[in-house]
Structure formats: structure tokens, C-alpha cells
């Protein structure tokens, strides 16, 4: 056990502050961390992660990293905006990036994702693959971010076939794995055969439910590529590439051309994408893949505007392509 490692002079230094979900959330914190790891591997960066226990920790964590003059400090999570704004104001020379929130400041890069667009494709795929014409959604907590996933998914289903039934359940937690399994079983038993989860680790339980079922029941994973967690049971994963965003920003810093302002990542720049059906290709026809691609292009081209709130979903009509 030696004294801890310091960055070498000239080394790219990257700091990250997690939100209260912390590392291991199987969601955006983990994904961001993967981006840091990749930066360490590919860019020889020195990285440091500070986790937060409550909202009150955000500011001290950001301050500590700022005082240490990291080349880039990432604030992960949608509740860190105000704190970041204050800290960024105090350290005008310091560069920051925030994920999932928009903070207008000259030294902050805001990165948001069009989760609803990817969720739309997930919904469309689910509606096409479902044999029972009945699909479902499991959310973690009923908060605006998760409602984006829900709304996009339902719209996607409706785009393919408005008669397909969509059940929605919220686990009330992002950690309660057992409840994820129970909810998935409840939904499967209720007739759904495909479930999209946007619930952190709760989704792991849902995947386990599919694993112990016969062929034909699927989970659609979220945030990270979860296809390999239960090969053949995870139809696809709606990946939100926080890692790529984090890496790209790091790389931009190194090359002297960092992005600035508000970066919105969606299907176009592959900030959002579905994984490529490595284990479930046989369950999907080429026609369905074709449709999926058409929809993706339509969204990119702006021919489809995906709703991201329940209110918008209520009045949303499938696009006529």
C-alpha cells in the first residue's frame, strides 16, 4: 500500500462527480465511468471519481476537483445543474461538462440525450416482434427523466400498431432487483411478451425473469449494452452513449477542440442507438429491420417528432410515412 498516485505533469486529468446513484447504477453513472476508463486507456488520462451521497455533496465534490484544476470535470446527473452553475462561476477558468442537464455558462458543456428517440425505436421493435400484441414497460421511479423513456416507447408501439397493448409499471426504486423480477413475471403472466426497462438495477431482475422463461419472452435493456447479460433473452438494448460523450469531450480537450454549449445527442450521431441483435437476430425478420431503419431515418430527418412527456404522448399521432 503506497501513497496514492498523482497525475504526471502534462497528463490529461479528468474528474467526475457521480450523482447519488453512484458507480454501479448500471445506468448513466456507470456509462460515464466507462467513458473515463476508455479515456485512461486510449488517451492516457489520469482519472478520479467522486461519488455523492446526497444533493448536499455535489458542491463540495465539484469544488474539490476544481481546486485540483482537472482539465475536465464531468458532473453526471440531472440534479447537479444549479450546484455546477455556482461552482463554475467561482472557477471561470475551469472546464466542466454536465450530463442530462442544460446549464448555460461559457465554461460548461451540456450534454443531453434524446432518450425518447431510442425508446421510440425500442417500442416499434417490441410492437413488431410481439406475438401476443401486448408489450410492457418497467420504470424505476416515476420522474421526468424516466417518463421520457416511457413516452417514446409508447409512441413507438403506437407507430407500428395502435392496437398493441402497453402495460406500464413503476418499481419505485432503481435498486430493488427482486422487485424487477416480480414485476416482469407479473407483466409476462399478464400477457405481455416483451418488456422495456428503464430502471437501473431493477432491470437486472427483469432480465432474470426472462432468462427463466421459454423462448419468446424478451427484455429490452437500457443505458448500457445488456444483451450479454442473458444471451437470447435481451432483444436489444437502448444504449445511451454517455461513455462516448465523455470520451469525445476528453479527446476534444486533448486535441484542443472541445465541443461547447449544448450538445444534444440522438440517433443521428449514435449518441443513442439500439444494439445490433447479436443474440436475437433470428427473432427479427429483415422486413422488421427495414422498418426500424426507416423509422430511424425518419426521426433523424425530423419527419417524426417523438413525444417525451405523457402530455405530449396523449395527443401524439403516428406519423404517416
Amino acid at each position: 500500500v503506497g501513497r496514492h498516485v498523482h497525475p504526471r505533469p502534462g497528463q490529461l486529468t479528468l474528474g467526475m462527480v457521480t450523482d447519488v446513484g453512484g458507480l454501479g447504477d448500471k445506468s448513466f453513472n456507470d456509462s460515464a465511468y466507462n467513458g473515463l476508463l476508455r479515456s485512461r486507456a486510449d488517451l492516457d488520462a489520469y482519472i478520479k471519481v467522486l461519488q455523492s451521497k446526497s444533493a448536499a455533496d455535489y458542491q463540495p465534490n465539484l469544488t474539490v476537483l476544481s481546486e485540483a484544476r482537472f482539465n475536465m470535470i464531468y458532473a453526471i446527473g440531472f440534479l447537479m445543474g444549479d450546484d455546477l452553475q455556482q461552482v463554475a462561476h467561482q472557477f471561470p477558468q475551469q472546464n466542466y461538462a454536465i450530463i442530462d442537464d442544460v446549464v448555460p455558462a461559457p465554461n460548461i458543456i451540456s450534454v443531453t440525450f434524446k432518450e425518447e428517440d431510442g425508446s421510440f425505436l425500442a417500442g416499434a421493435l417490441a410492437a413488431m416482434v410481439s406475438k401476443t400484441k401486448h408489450v410492457a414497460f418497467i420504470g424505476g421511479m416515476d420522474i421526468p427523466l424516466i417518463r421520457k423513456f416511457e413516452a417514446g416507447y409508447e409512441a413507438g408501439v403506437r407507430q407500428i400498431d395502435p392496437s398493441v397493448k402497453v402495460d406500464v409499471k413503476y418499481a419505485g426504486s432503481f435498486d430493488d432487483v427482486a422487485t424487477g423480477k416480480e414485476l416482469a413475471n407479473l407483466l409476462f403472466n399478464g400477457g405481455a411478451d416483451i418488456i422495456y426497462t428503464a430502471a437501473g438495477k431493477v432491470g437486472l431482475g427483469a432480465i432474470d425473469a426472462a432468462r427463466t422463461r421459454p423462448q419468446g419472452y424478451y427484455i429490452i435493456g437500457v443505458d448500457n449494452d445488456q444483451d450479454a447479460v442473458a444471451p437470447g433473452k435481451v432483444l436489444t438494448s437502448m444504449v445511451k452513449h454517455v461513455d462516448i460523450a465523455v470520451f469525445d469531450i476528453a479527446k476534444g480537450i486533448q486535441t484542443g477542440h472541445p465541443p461547447h454549449g449544448h450538445v444534444v445527442l440522438g440517433l443521428k450521431d449514435r449518441g443513442i442507438s439500439l444494439t445490433d441483435f447479436k443474440y436475437t437476430r433470428s427473432a427479427i425478420s429483415s422486413a422488421q429491420l427495414q422498418t426500424l431503419d426507416t423509422l430511424r431515418k425518419a426521426i433523424i430527418a425530423g419527419k417524426i417528432t417523438v413525444p417525451y412527456t405523457r402530455e405530449a404522448l396523449a395527443t401524439w399521432k403516428p406519423a404517416n410515412l
Binding site: 453512484g22 430493488d176 424487477g180 438495477k201 427463466t212
Partner: protein
């Protein structure tokens, strides 16, 4: 319609059983501990210990049964720590329980990084699969067994006496501290089993936060069930039922937001305790070091 209604009821009851089981185990653990005079606020931590250790050993040996046994042992070990602190050092039991909760949660989370090099959740290990129903049944057997032990055996009588007046137990030539220590170890073992049920009974991984406050709900179930094994079991089923009900109902009552649904078990409990007018009395020496 009636067959759909029937199916719904079956679904509801099945889910109730599954939801109740870990709470039953932990609540039975709470009963035995509190009847001996030790408040066990560390049930949550003991569940965590059981859940994690079960995964660890199942993963190492490939045998979920060994995992379950290891989970029980881990709970018992934490029970031993609480019991030892509560008897020999006469530590305030609530503080010690809080300490146990922190150590267990932090320890398990840290061990994930240390052992598996991945925070948040363990890799998948071999689990009970459909055999988890055996553990559901065993929960009820445990309730019956604990009832038998508490009310029909000399040891049970002594434990109950210990929770009421340890001095009388001492005057009878017995060892109240030893009785309490054993009771709390047993308590931890049961809570550990409850945790193991969650991790390798129901699913096949350990994940941080997966106990999700069930240890605290179990504590409430102990009181709700008036410190009796069947009472606590009933109370655990009460919680399990309303949890199941809220999940089943979600989406069917559109004007109720999910958060309101999620509060259902707790609100139901509030109404239920208000309705249970009458003496709900803790063991007289519960929480008081001897």
C-alpha cells in the same frame, strides 16, 4: 371475466407470497431477538450480509444450497456482533444496530469492487431457480417452529422471561446474557436467510440496495404482529399483500399516480395500526441492557 378475475387473484396471491417471504424471515428474526430483550434495528444489515454472502459462496462453489447456508451464517455472525455488543458491552442496542447496518451495507458494496471488481451488482451466480418456492414454504415452517420453540420449550420460556425481567431469569440460576446472545444470533441467521432468499432465491445476483428497506419493514411487522411469530408472519403478509396489490393495480387506476400507489402498503399499515386499538406492549425489558 370471472376467469380473468380468478387469474388476477391467483397472480395477486402468488406475488403476495413472494413479496412476504423475505420479510417473514427477517420479522421472525426480529421476534426472537426482541422477545429476548434486544431491539434489533440491524435486521436490514443482516439481510444485506446474508444476501451478499449467499451470492459469494454460491458463486465460489456453484452450489446455491451452500450459498444459502453461507448467507445464514453471515447473518448469524452479524447477529453475534450485535448480541455481543448488546450483552457484554451493553452498547445501546439501537446505536449498535445502526452501526451494523452501515458496516454491512458498506462492506457488501465494497466487497463487490474488491472481489468482482465491479461496483453496484455482482455477476450472476447459480441460484435456486424455481426451487425458491421451497424457501417460501420454509418461511412458514420457521414461523411454526419459532412458535413452538418460544411457547413450548424451556428455552423459549426462558427467552421470553429474559425479555421481560432478566433479573428474574438470573435469580432462577440462568444466564440472561447468554440467552440473549443466542437469541440475537438466531435472529441474524433468520434475517440472513431472508437476504439470501432475495439474492439467490428470487434472482441470481447481489446488488447494492437490493434489500430496499425490507429489514425496517420487518421491524414494523414485529411490532404490528405484537412480538409473536404468527403475528409477525401475518403482518409480513399484510405488507406483502399491499405491495403486491399496488403493483397489480398500477396502470389500472389511471388517476392515481405511481407514487401514490407505492405509498399504499405504508398508508394501509397506518390505517391498520390505528384500527388495532388496544394494548400493544413491547417486552418489558426490550432494549434495556442487563
Amino acid at each position: 371475466m370471472s376467469s380473468a378475475g380468478g387469474a388476477l387473484i391467483v397472480t395477486l396471491l402468488t406475488l403476495t407470497l413472494i413479496k412476504s417471504t423475505p420479510i417473514i424471515y427477517a420479522a421472525l428474526g426480529g421476534v426472537i431477538s426482541e422477545r429476548s430483550g434486544v431491539v434489533n434495528i440491524g435486521l436490514e444489515g443482516m439481510m444485506i450480509g446474508g444476501a451478499f454472502t449467499a451470492v459469494l459462496f454460491s458463486g465460489m462453489t456453484g452450489s446455491p444450497v451452500i450459498g444459502i447456508i453461507a448467507g445464514i451464517a453471515a447473518g448469524a455472525l452479524l447477529g453475534f456482533i450485535l448480541g455481543f455488543a448488546a450483552t457484554v458491552f451493553k452498547v445501546d442496542q439501537i446505536v449498535a444496530g445502526t452501526g451494523i447496518n452501515l458496516v454491512a451495507a458498506g462492506g457488501a458494496a465494497y466487497a463487490l469492487t474488491l472481489i468482482y471488481n465491479q461496483p453496484g451488482a455482482s455477476p450472476q451466480v447459480s441460484a435456486l431457480g424455481n426451487n425458491f418456492w421451497i424457501l417460501v414454504a420454509i418461511a412458514f415452517a420457521c414461523a411454526a417452529l419459532l412458535h413452538g420453540v418460544l411457547y413450548f420449550t424451556p428455552w423459549g420460556l426462558r427467552v421470553r422471561a429474559c425479555g421481560e425481567n432478566p433479573r428474574a431469569v438470573h435469580d432462577a440460576g440462568l444466564h440472561p446474557l447468554r440467552l440473549r446472545l443466542y437469541a440475537v444470533i438466531l435472529s441474524g441467521a433468520l434475517a440472513g436467510l431472508g437476504g439470501a432468499f432475495l439474492s439467490i432465491g428470487e434472482v441470481n445476483i447481489y446488488s447494492d440496495g437490493m434489500t430496499a428497506g425490507r429489514g425496517f419493514i420487518a421491524l414494523a411487522a414485529v411490532i404490528f404482529g405484537r412480538w409473536t411469530p404468527w403475528g409477525a408472519t401475518g403482518a409480513a403478509i399484510f405488507f406483502g399483500f399491499f405491495e403486491a396489490l399496488q403493483y397489480v393495480l398500477q396502470g389500472h387506476i389511471s388517476w392515481l399516480p405511481a407514487d401514490a400507489m407505492q405509498a399504499l402498503p405504508y398508508v394501509a399499515a397506518l390505517f391498520a395500526i390505528a384500527g388495532l386499538v388496544g394494548k400493544v406492549r413491547a417486552p418489558a425489558a426490550d432494549g434495556i441492557p442487563y
